[in-house]
């Protein structure tokens, strides 16, 4: 970027960056007299103050005691590295909505290479102004109050981003004219050079730019030569485009440690909503979420969970967070948190003309998350039949149905099959059989009764009208715990109920583990 008139650079700048980062996390403080402090205890100094605090006379560099002397009810917050990092990342993401080449400059500053980026505003009389207005609107939606300047060099763009009204666009080739009336301090000269120029009586950038370059170089050295070039609107610093990070991060430091889940979830809600907003702006969805809790007095608690389908719905993520924290609480007060979303492309279901419609993956993920929150993960899923013949055995796996067929198959005409309700756990029975004492093998049940039905267990009692059996079931004879040796009977009671009962041949006890229904 050498000041070529064809180069166009936009500068996005968040004024009072530490304050803006804090207000983004705690918007309820907008109307308060608030200062952001850096340093600890008596060494803490004000680095940014809200409008109301500034009206009360508070300025950066004051100590907390000095600030409190001016406004006793002053609200204070320390600088929040998590919140500032998130705001900086948000600023860069806003820039990336307009240009593929974005430089991550200082705190709260980003540069955009606008080459070819204003083409979509071709119908506007001032495409750069239109682009800047759209960028500003996007930034405000992302809770990042941004000033914008557009010029031919990074320096001029940055200076343009400090003047009102914003956005400010410097016409192509007029960087030097734009800078000329501004005070020399806008070039951020080194202290020695600034002092020398002050002694020379040079006050504005224009005054400095009119000096002969060779003379400036011989008197002020290399530093002065560079400064002189910038004063003439020539900025040799190239724009260094960044590589977007693979994850999206949000977080904040809490004002005081939280010990209850509900206040924490209340606090984390706005952060999750911002995270989802950023994902939406990037056209992405979260496929895995990592939560890091900063614990008091020290330590971290980290959790990671994979979503059933990529989603950017804040409610789903909050439900999962609640579920995870209820299952595994951190065990110490939480002083801060960080959320890291691993993005993926959102999946969408294809509408079909001839086949059954598919539940959209994000809706399915939301439904499953709500069910998990209601019942727990061990009670929701797709059933799977494990190996073996014991009817009570089952497995639950994650529910991920295959896509529906493109053409709906004909509904098969089903023959009615009789099935058995599995009684889980089996109901203990007292059974009178035809067996003589000590010879129970293969003897028919005559009467069955559940002696003490437990809570929720069915009442089973009555004389047996028909008994069919026995059928043998033996499994895992090699295993001490899992061995099963049963003798099954199908019995129809006098009242018409039909049960599947068995005698455990290892101990002779009787159970009902199924009912024909």
């Amino acid at each position: 970027m050498s000041g070529d008139s064809s180069d166009r650079i936009a500068c996005l700048r968040v004024p009072l960056f530490p304050l803006a980062a804090r207000l983004r996390c705690e918007p309820e403080l907008h109307s308060e007299a608030l200062v952001i402090l850096q340093g600890k205890a008596s060494a803490a100094r004000v680095v940014a103050a809200s409008r109301r605090a500034r009206k009360g006379g508070i300025r950066p560099g004051m100590t907390l005691a000095q600030a409190r002397a001016l406004i006793p009810e002053l609200a204070t917050r320390p600088r929040d590295p998590e919140a500032e990092a998130a705001l900086q990342e948000t600023l860069l993401e806003v820039g990336e909505t307009a240009s593929p080449r974005v430089e991550n400059a200082d705190e709260g500053v980003a540069y955009l290479d606008l080459a070819g980026c204003t083409a979509r505003f071709f119908s506007s009389e001032a495409p750069e102004e239109a682009l800047a207005r759209e960028l500003r609107r996007s930034a405000e939606e992302a809770s990042a109050p941004t000033w914008i300047g557009i010029a031919g060099s990074k320096l001029a763009a940055r200076v343009a981003a400090t003047v009102t009204p914003t956005p400010h666009v410097v016409p192509p080739g007029e960087d030097a004219e734009f800078l000329a009336p501004l005070p020399l301090s806008r070039l951020d000269p080194e202290v020695e050079v600034a002092e020398t120029l002050r002694r020379w009586g040079i006050r504005s950038i224009g005054d400095f730019a009119r000096l002969p370059p060779s003379q400036v170089g011989s008197r002020l050295g290399e530093t002065g030569r560079h400064l002189h070039a910038r004063a003439r609107g020539i900025d040799s610093r190239p724009l260094v485009a960044r590589c977007p990070p693979p994850e999206i991060r949000e977080g904040m430091t809490l004002e005081w440690p939280l010990v209850s889940l509900e206040p924490f979830l209340f606090t984390v809600r706005s952060t999750v909503e911002r995270l989802c907003h950023r994902l939406e702006r990037a056209g992405l969805a979260c496929t895995r979420l990592e939560l890091t809790l900063v614990l008091e007095p020290d330590g971290f608690h980290e959790r990671s969970f994979t979503l059933p389908a990529p989603t950017r719905e804040a409610e789903i993520l909050l439900t999962l967070l609640r579920l995870e924290l209820e299952e595994d609480p951190p065990g110490a007060p939480v002083a801060g948190f960080r959320l890291l979303a691993h993005p993926d492309r959102p999946r969408s279901s294809q509408l079909t003309l001839f086949g059954p419609s598919e539940i959209p993956p994000d809706r399915l993920a939301s439904t499953l998350a709500r069910l998990f929150a209601l019942l727990g993960r061990d009670r929701v899923g797709a059933p799977r039949a494990p190996d073996g013949h014991r009817p009570e055995r089952f497995e639950l796996v994650d529910y991920s149905p295959p896509p529906p067929p493109e053409v709906r198959p004909e509904a098969p005409g089903a023959r009615g099959y009789l099935t058995v309700r599995t009684l889980r756990p089996p109901v203990a029975l007292e059974v009178i059989t035809t067996a003589r004492h000590g010879d129970e093998e293969g003897q028919r049940p005559l009467r069955i009764r559940a002696p003490a039905p437990g809570k929720g267990a069915p009442r089973i009692e009555g004389p047996v009208r028909v008994a069919s059996g026995p059928w043998e079931l033996e499994e895992e004879w090699w295993s001490r715990e899992g061995a099963v040796d049963r003798e099954y009977w199908d019995v129809e009671l006098e009242d018409g109920d039909v049960y599947r009962i068995y005698r455990d041949r290892r101990d002779g006890e009787w159970f009902a583990d199924g009912m024909y229904d």
């Binding site: 709500r370 929701v380 039949a385 013949h389 099935t419 309700r421 009684l423 028909v466 033996e474 039909v498």
Partner: protein
């Protein structure tokens, strides 16, 4: 639509319409195609199947074939590529038995609530999540949580209407009040045994009677008979093509010849017994 295409002749323009207008003009019966249960008598009583967006209650005592009808419905609907959810309050589904029914378990979401309150909440979530079929099986008495409040069932009916899904409530007694659009009652007939007298018997099936007690579409009550066959009966006496017995109880570790299911069947096939409802008599045990 018509105003967007001003250059077309007026007769053509009048015949064009938007998708939304077309959907609105469709009769409700076309928009809400019923979900067939696969059991002809049930489909007949339900006028084609479970209506979408409605609550259907199926009441039946123990051994009335209610759970068999539920699995038949799930098997049929899942076979057409739809997804479905079974809220199994009694925790009574056996995945291995369902797999033998060739039910597509991958498309089935199995919910195992602890009580009726959880079951109702899960049903509402599923209907809001646009599941085309939700089956709420309340198991056998006693139902943990009682009958549920009338307001809860009303909410479910509203959720079904809004989401367009069908909710089948399978219950041992009436629970949904006036919120079900169709109510079927299942009555146990006879349990059928193959074999008579003192010879070994084999459960062959169950005869049930189905009554339509309420229908918002067809005010007249109606009834039908339905036979449900056991796996073994279907495999050996109805299909004729299947030669292997059900492996459920035949673990391959039989030590006594003739005591396994396989042995019993072989010994019985030659008897050519007729299917007879059991008659109480001196040789009944």
């Amino acid at each position: 639509m018509a105003s967007a295409l001003p250059d077309l002749p007026s007769d053509l323009r009048n015949r064009l319409t938007t998708g939304r207008e077309m959907a609105r003009r469709q009769p409700a019966s076309v928009q809400r195609e019923a979900l067939a249960t696969g059991l002809e008598p049930l489909d007949r009583l339900l006028l084609g199947g479970l209506p979408r967006g409605e609550v259907v209650e199926m009441r039946g005592a123990r051994s009335s074939g209610r759970f068999s009808c539920v699995l038949a419905l799930l098997g049929t609907v899942l076979a057409t590529g739809e997804v479905a959810a079974l809220i199994d309050l009694g925790d009574q589904l056996s995945p291995s038995r369902a797999r033998r029914r060739e039910i597509d378990l991958e498309r089935l979401l199995w919910i195992r609530p602890r009580d009726l309150r959880e079951a109702l909440s899960a049903a509402e979530i599923l209907l809001s999540g646009r599941f085309p079929l939700v089956v709420l099986d309340l198991g056998i008495p006693p139902i943990p949580g009682g009958r549920g409040r009338e307001a809860s069932w009303r909410r479910l009916a509203r959720a079904a209407r809004r989401g367009g899904g069908s909710l089948l409530v399978s219950s041992p007694y009436r629970v949904t009040g006036s919120n079900a659009s169709e109510v079927l009652e299942l009555h146990r007939g006879s349990f059928l045994w193959r074999g008579t007298g003192s010879r070994p018997r084999l459960g062959a099936g169950l005869e049930i009677r189905v009554e339509r007690r309420k229908s918002r579409r067809e005010p007249q009550e109606a009834r039908a008979r339905l036979r449900l066959w056991s796996e073994e009966e279907a495999a050996y006496y109805l299909d004729g093509s299947k030669t292997d017995p059900s492996p459920e109880l035949d673990s391959g570790t039989d030590r006594r010849p003739g005591s396994s299911l396989l042995g019993s069947l072989r010994s019985r096939r030659d008897t050519r017994d007729s299917l007879l409802p059991h008659r109480k008599g001196p040789d009944s045990a």
